[in-house]
């Protein structure tokens, strides 16, 4: 059976000058403070924080696995608290202190304790979920610097990892706690 189709435009707009294209989206001027640096940017009101971080600021360490708030790959710290950047508008994050995985290194550029623990304990495989775990655990250890294995397992229960089976991530949490304490003693 014959399919009727409308001819298709392949050039840049406007396709049919007699029909006005939709209004361009209104842009908001916002300032995002990320890892201690302020960035001025213009974004549509609907721009997700995850997209603003990744695509507008080039901080691609934050990942997007579901865009509906379940997997936790996009977790960043907002004023020190883990938050799903895929469930937040960039404009809403204005005025808050945002920390991404790029901001977790020690001031001298070496790996932070949670990052170091993941390397030591084989806490990652593909590494896609990892930034979300690293930010979540960093915040958690502020609250509970000496977790038991069970507490560590509970602490990461909001993040999905499809690769590691979690056992080594639990070990990483406990090892990170140790490294933090060693760091404090020095």
């Amino acid at each position: 059976m014959a399919t009727q189709r409308v001819r298709i435009r392949r050039s840049t707009p406007p396709f049919n000058p007699s029909e006005a294209p939709e209004e361009p989206e209104e842009l908001l001027e916002i300032t995002l403070r990320v890892n201690g640096t302020e960035h001025d940017l213009e974004v549509p009101g609907r721009r997700l924080l995850s997209d603003a971080l990744r695509h507008d600021l080039g901080l691609t360490g934050t990942h997007v696995g579901c865009e509906h708030g379940v997997c936790g790959a996009c977790t960043v710290l907002v004023d020190g608290r883990p938050s799903r950047s895929c469930l937040m508008f960039a404009a809403t994050a204005q005025g808050h202190e945002i920390t991404t995985v790029e901001g977790l290194a020690r001031p001298d550029g070496t790996l932070g304790p949670v990052q170091q623990a993941f390397v030591e304990c084989h806490g990652l495989q593909c590494g896609f979920c990892t930034p979300g775990f690293l930010t979540t655990i960093t915040a958690y250890l502020e609250e509970n610097p000496d977790p038991t294995q069970e507490e560590a397992r509970e602490a990461i229960a909001g993040n999905l990892c499809r690769c590691t089976g979690y056992q080594n991530i639990v070990r990483s949490v406990c090892r990170a706690a140790e490294l933090r304490r060693e760091g404090e003693q020095q």
Binding site: T3, G61, C126, F128, R153, L160, N168
Partner: protein, 812 residues
């Protein structure tokens, strides 16, 4: 002194980059490319009567809207159906999809049109404004509906059958009929999916000056994609480069290629002379990528009083979805893996692979083998129940013995080669497993739990896995004059630690520090010959290619060094990158200097180059700068191509608790004994096992694609399709057995999928043990278990009236 690293728990070289946010996944690239979004069918089966794209074109920022005609106009082959990648004689009706639907759609989510815009948000806005009119046709969902064939998915596939395969060894029928005991079982496994945390994605850039297409894709095969795209777009192979960046998990779904989106994006980049990127969102992944696992199984088995199988027949019906682009690897793996670690000489097996109007099937970690293990292990448990024997005793009675290797199963595998088990020691593995889980002590524990009002059960599952299939993989190693060693294999990587284990092999063989070795994977510019990453083959294939290449390179380096040191190559060794005469430590030459000597130069661009110029080093005036049959540079390429597949094996055991009221199922303990031959890096092998078991737990207890009768996937989100979080995955205890394979120089067997294969079988065994009746359908949720209990209570009431009814699959 350089130390060997193969066999050690070496920390991964890729990790410092990945933990600091410096990974480069597909969506991190081509940030300024145009964005593609797809219009997808809302119907499971329908004829397209009209497509109106005018509304989409009004959206500010939209650059183009494509339908099938645009592909057809780009190149004739682009308008043809996608390739049938792995033809097999069993395939009677080979249907594959068009990259954009031509006249009919066969599942919800099938791509109908593509929108290209300056921004992803705008592309999605516009996609919603494309109006497609459909004439809805009847959906065909699930094995039973497909088998009934009241409606056909494709007119050319009578009975909805895409493939039928049957194989008979010995004389199963008569042996079963003559056996003292006969049982029949019906089993049922549901759909699940690989579900990597990073979805699929592709970016394509046409360079009009070089007339080259450069593609980045989140794929498991760079070379396969390159060849497929070149063929579809009418480009020469040399005009297409495919580079696979960091990949956020694959587990099988990313082995299929080319995906419709890869063709559409590449074709549009070519036609529009620009760069375009598409990144899949999660819902798209659910409804337009691939699933696996769904199968109905029927078994008839005859056995003696010790539980020794005398004859067996198995028939499986596989739901392969709307199209068959990756062939019948999944059901073929199932039927060829049913024998597992057991002597099965009188055996008939068949599969019927059926079309349904649902998402296609491609391999998902284990690729058909979890279904095989489920079938065989449920059968073993049923035999034990029938005879009142210990479940491990029945398995022991059937095991192939260590002295019986190599063991020929009498079937051709999915690679078209003989299935012959190379090595293993099943009795030893079972002993280790029983010790690890405390099999003998369990009855005492059960009593103790019962006294506390708790209900527990123990179960096990055994398997073998054909791993390391050919045809080949290669390696290229080059030594730079700085001492940096660049290593490449065409194989891709999705988190298995290839950059570490391949470097370990090369560093050991060459005698150089691990830090000097840098591994590139999945880049057709660095290695244009490769097959791909699937079927637990990475380490076996590329690992052995690395070894062979490093050996050859070392031989060459020592030959050149021997000339320079005026020594015999046989007396030389390389330690920490320094070549020296054994026993004469003062006569040395660094490997990097050999790289200088290997490449006589005209131009002195740096210090090492200066040494290699015609006035730099001492020269033998009687010989050409490069001897005959030699070539410049210190580099080598070698390929490894094995005669046949290796076989890894293992055994899992689980202890579960089932709540008497709520039917909640908790895995209390989980133990794994695993044999993949010598471990290159035990930390990574264990990591693969842990991850595999977690996916297996998902398949056993949670993961199920819920389709309604109209072919709508009801749980296409992470909210509704349950994958295990940390709280659902038990701690896993592991033990290893290392029986080397005689089939490759490293003696290794693959380990990537092993963790997943017997989990559903082991968990079903444990739940059955706790409940006192057989679990025959997976996954099993608390409500499934609750209903099972309820229906059994009704059954029992019925049975007092009708005593002729027997449940042959019942276990005590």
């Amino acid at each position: 002194m350089s130390t060997r690293s193969v066999g050690d728990r070496v920390q991964r070289k890729e990790d410092p980059r990945l933990v600091s946010g410096q990974g480069h996944y597909l969506d991190d690239l081509s940030q300024h490319a145009l964005a593609a979004a797809f219009v997808r069918s809302p119907h499971a089966h329908a004829r397209i009567t009209d497509i109106d794209v005018s509304g989409a074109l009004d959206v500010q920022g939209v650059v183009a809207v494509w339908t099938w005609e645009d592909l057809d106009q780009t190149h004739e082959a682009a308008g043809q159906p996608l390739p049938m990648l792995i033809p097999h004689p069993s395939i009677t009706a080979p249907f594959t999809a068009y990259a954009l639907a031509k006249e009919t759609v066969h599942h919800v989510g099938e791509a109908v049109a593509m929108v290209v815009a300056t921004d992803r948000y705008l592309a999605e806005d516009a996609a919603q404004r494309v109006r497609v009119e459909y004439e809805v046709l009847p959906a065909v969902v699930g094995v039973e509906t497909a088998r009934a064939a009241e409606h056909l998915v494709h007119e050319g596939a009578p009975g909805n059958v895409g493939a039928y395969f049957e194989q008979e060894l010995g004389e199963p029928g008569p042996r079963i009929d003559a056996a003292p005991h006969v049982l029949e079982l019906d089993l049922d496994i549901q759909r699940s999916a690989s579900m990597p945390l990073e979805g699929k994605g592709v970016a394509a850039r046409w360079d009009p000056e070089l007339r080259m297409l450069r593609m980045h894709s989140s794929t498991q095969t760079a070379t396969g994609l390159r060849a497929a795209v070149a063929a579809k777009l009418g480009l020469s192979l040399s005009q297409v480069e495919v580079i696979v960046p960091d990949v956020g998990g694959g587990f099988g779904v990313k082995i299929n290629h080319p995906w419709p989106e890869e063709i559409c994006v590449a074709a549009a980049a070519l036609r529009m002379q620009t760069e375009i990127k598409w990144v899949e969102d999660r819902r798209e992944h659910f409804i337009s990528s691939a699933h696996e696992r769904q199968m109905l199984q029927h078994v008839r088995v005859g056995f003696d009083d010790d539980g020794v199988i005398l004859g067996m027949e198995a028939d499986v019906w596989h739901d392969h979805g709307a199209y068959l682009p990756y062939g019948v690897i999944v059901p073929l793996n199932t039927v060829t893996h049913i024998p597992g670690p057991y002597r099965l000489k009188n055996f008939r097996v068949s599969f019927t692979s059926l079309y349904t109007t649902t998402v296609i099937v491609t391999p998902y970690r284990g690729a058909g083998r979890p279904q095989a293990a489920f079938l065989m292990e449920r059968t073993m448990d049923a035999i034990a129940a029938e005879l009142g024997l210990d479940r491990t005793a029945v398995r022991s009675a059937n095991f192939i013995q260590p002295q019986e290797f190599p063991w020929d199963i009498g079937m051709l595998l999915q690679d078209g080669r003989l299935g012959i088990y190379d090595s293993g020691d099943f009795p030893a593995s079972l002993d280790k497993l029983k010790a690890l889980i405390g099999w003998e002590e369990f009855e005492a524990y059960r009593e103790q739990a019962r006294a506390e009002g708790r209900q527990v059960g123990i179960g096990l599952g055994c398997y073998v896995e054909g791993t390391g299939a050919g045809p080949y993989e290669g390696a290229h190693i080059e030594v730079e004059t700085s001492g940096r060693i660049n290593v490449a294999t065409g194989l891709t990587t999705q988190g298995q630690g290839h950059q570490t284990v391949f470097a370990q092999i090369v560093a050991d063989e060459l005698g150089v520090p691990l830090d000097d070795v840098h591994v590139t994977t999945g880049d057709t510019r660095a290695m244009a010959y490769s097959v791909g990453t699937w079927g637990s083959r990475g380490a076996v294939m590329s690992g052995n290619a690395m070894l062979l290449t490093a050996r050859k390179l070392k031989e060459r380096a020592l030959r050149i060094a021997a000339d320079a040191l005026e020594a015999n190559p046989d007396d030389l060794e390389i330690v920490d990158g320094i070549i020296s005469v054994r026993g004469a430590p003062e006569a040395t030459i660094p490997l990097r200097t050999v790289a200088v000597l290997a490449n006589p130069l005209r131009y002195a661009f740096d210090e090492s180059a200066k040494a290699a110029t015609q006035f730099g080093g001492k020269a033998d005036e009687t010989k050409p700068p490069i001897p005959e049959e030699d070539r410049p540079g210190l580099e080598e390429t070698q390929f490894f191509s094995p005669v046949r597949t290796t076989f890894a094996n293992g055994m899992h055991a689980a202890i579960v608790e089932t709540d008497p009221q709520t039917a909640e199922i908790t895995v209390l303990r989980y133990a794994v004994v695993h044999d993949c031959g010598p471990m290159l890096n035990p930390m990574i092998v264990e990591g693969q096992v842990y991850g595999g078991v977690a996916q297996g737990i998902g398949g056993a207890l949670y993961e199920k694609m819920e389709y309604d009768a109209d072919g709508q996937l009801l749980n296409a989100s992470f909210m509704d399709f349950l994958m295990p979080f940390s709280t659902e995955v038990p701690h896993i205890e592991t033990d290893h057995l290392e029986t080397p394979s005689p089939l490759n120089p490293l003696g290794i067997k693959g380990a990537g999928e092993a963790g997943t294969i017997p989990v559903a079988a082991a968990i079903a065994s444990a739940i059955s043990d706790a409940e006192g009746f057989a679990v025959t359908r997976m996954p099993i949720s608390p409500s499934d278990l609750w209903h099972l209990r309820a229906s059994r209570r009704t059954d029992r009431t019925d049975r007092t009236d009708r005593t002729d009814q027997t449940d042959q699959t019942e276990e005590s």
